[in-house]
């Protein structure tokens, strides 16, 4: 992932062919001249492909939508789901808001820090896991919970976390 770092400010990083056709489909859903509306969806698409949003990626999207790069940056920096720095292969986003806290999210965060040997906001040395805390993910009745790669893991306890980390580690090795 770090190979992209030297490309910052230099080259635009295009979508893969299949994502480009997906992007075009998304743009077509909006009236002509209103294609900027597709911006957030395209940022999601790019992040799914690249893991994070580099300046090169954002500049490419600006071209695609015929808008200024700044219009992309200001949106990418506003919304919390977008990573503007390289992240680990699996980003674990643990909900820390009230209802999850009532059922033990603090302990879950603590356990994850212990298990992954990193603090919230950091990435493991092998580049596999990034640990983040986020605000309410709408799973209040099923907490404590975390989201990883768009998938919810709910009613968390220590065993479930062990299992999740094991299976993600294994799947990354193969």
């Amino acid at each position: 992932m770090n190979t992209e770092k030297h490309l910052i400010f230099k080259e635009k990083i295009p979508f893969s062919e299949s994502n480009l056709s997906k992007a075009k489909e998304i743009i077509q859903q909006y009236p002509e001249e209103k294609s900027k509306s597709a911006l957030i969806a395209l940022l999601h698409l790019a992040q799914e492909e690249r893991g994070w949003l580099s300046v090169g990626t954002m500049d490419y999207i600006a071209d695609l939508l015929h808008i200024q790069p700044i219009e992309v940056y200001e949106v990418a920096t506003f919304y919390t789901m977008f990573h503007l720095q390289p992240v680990g292969k699996h980003v674990m986003e643990v909900c820390r808001t009230g209802p999850c806290m009532l059922v033990g999210s603090d302990q879950i965060i603590q356990y994850l820090e212990h298990k992954l040997e990193i603090k919230v906001g950091e990435t493991t040395q092998d580049g596999l896991f990034t640990l983040k805390t986020v605000e309410c993910l709408g799973a209040c009745g099923y907490g404590p919970m975390l989201q990883c790669k768009g998938q919810n893991h709910e009613f968390l306890n220590e065993e479930k976390i062990d299992h999740l980390i094991d299976s993600l580690t294994k799947s990354s090795l193969t």
Binding site: I40, A41, E71, G98, L102, G150
Partner: protein
Amino acid sequence: MKNTMLLLDKAHIEGIESLEVYRKNGGYQALAKALKHFAPEEIVEEVKKSGLRGRGGAGFSTGLKWSFLAKPEGVPRYLVCNADESEPGTFKDRYLMEKIPHLLIEGMILSSYALGAAHSFIYIRGEYMWILNILQKAIQEAHAAGLLGKNILGSGYNLELTVAPGGGAYICGEETALLESLEGKRGNPRMKPPFPAVKGLWGCPTVVNNVETIAAVVPILLHGGDHYASIGIGKSTGTKLISACGNLVRPGVYEIEMGLSVEEFIYGDDYCRGIAKGKKLKACVPGGSSVPILPHYLVLETAKGEKRLMTYESLADGGFASGSMLGSGGFIVFDEDQCIVRNTWNFARFYAHESCGQCSPCREGTGWMEKVLNRLEHGLGNIRDIDLLADINKKIEGNTICPLGDAAAWPVAAAIRHFREEFEWHVTHKEESQKRNFGLAPVKAFV
């Protein structure tokens, strides 16, 4: 008394997420009926008759909101569904969309027809990406069956429906911030007036409604507005989805008839079955994190000693002095071990994190409240901090473009109003307050 369900009554049926099963169980009958027998304005009348109120939290009359929509010639009108559900404690729309997506799609087509929209949008929070896929699949099915697109069911009515994701921002649940976001911009709320009914999406007249509100249009059209209005009490008509969470035996999403008692909801066998682990009720936030917290003695009964009911009016009985709000239906329950100071700090941190930064009172004020509460919670507070909080509160409330400022201020004000001793205790018993580790199970050492 049997609880009437109008939205989730079929949600448990296997395969109901598919068009085929949904139709077999009466799905799209309301649409067929409306397109055949109702003019658009008759649908608006029917919704007015039903007494349906916005289910996103504000509780404003839906029929009235619809009737405000400007209709200048030659200008497109839009319906936007607010599926940005981000209010802590609220997860009802998610349940509805996951389980029975075609109910929302049918509601969207009906409502779009009523409003004269030819292109409608569902704006869904980015963290619900898997639900976006469920909705998109449902839309494809509806398209293939002639329920969307050109000449729907031979009526001559055309509609396109687009699902758009957000990027993770609570503020986009505010309708004008949502519209900004849908235009591909930062979610900064707009100054009002003009209201979206006059200038909304891309400057065109727009109605923004919550998922549950739009879904409720289906049973209203199917059984008639009068039938819907006959359920519930007074101005709280119909049914409401309540997402219950916190320290409950059985948290989850329930559809209740308006007027169910709070006691029955918390302790009843058909609902939450009481407080988890045999503990006692300490407090309750009945309508999402933004509404005032109620101490246990005001949860089941109002200050006047009347039974507290799950209605807009009963939950608000007593005003902010001794009442709260039904809000979005995010019902958060606290057991006796929970620390109100810690929870208030947690919510303040949430609002400080989610303030869009446009208005100084909110941008700075939410940050200050978070800092002061953090200090109090961690045994570093001063007794004057409690009044300082109340002071910051007053300076945020009512001084911002959108209601996020109020939403941040109210929970803090209510927590101090009802639990002042607990705040004071954190100041006078600094060491003890840290050892007791309020709200947390004993901290394990993982070293």
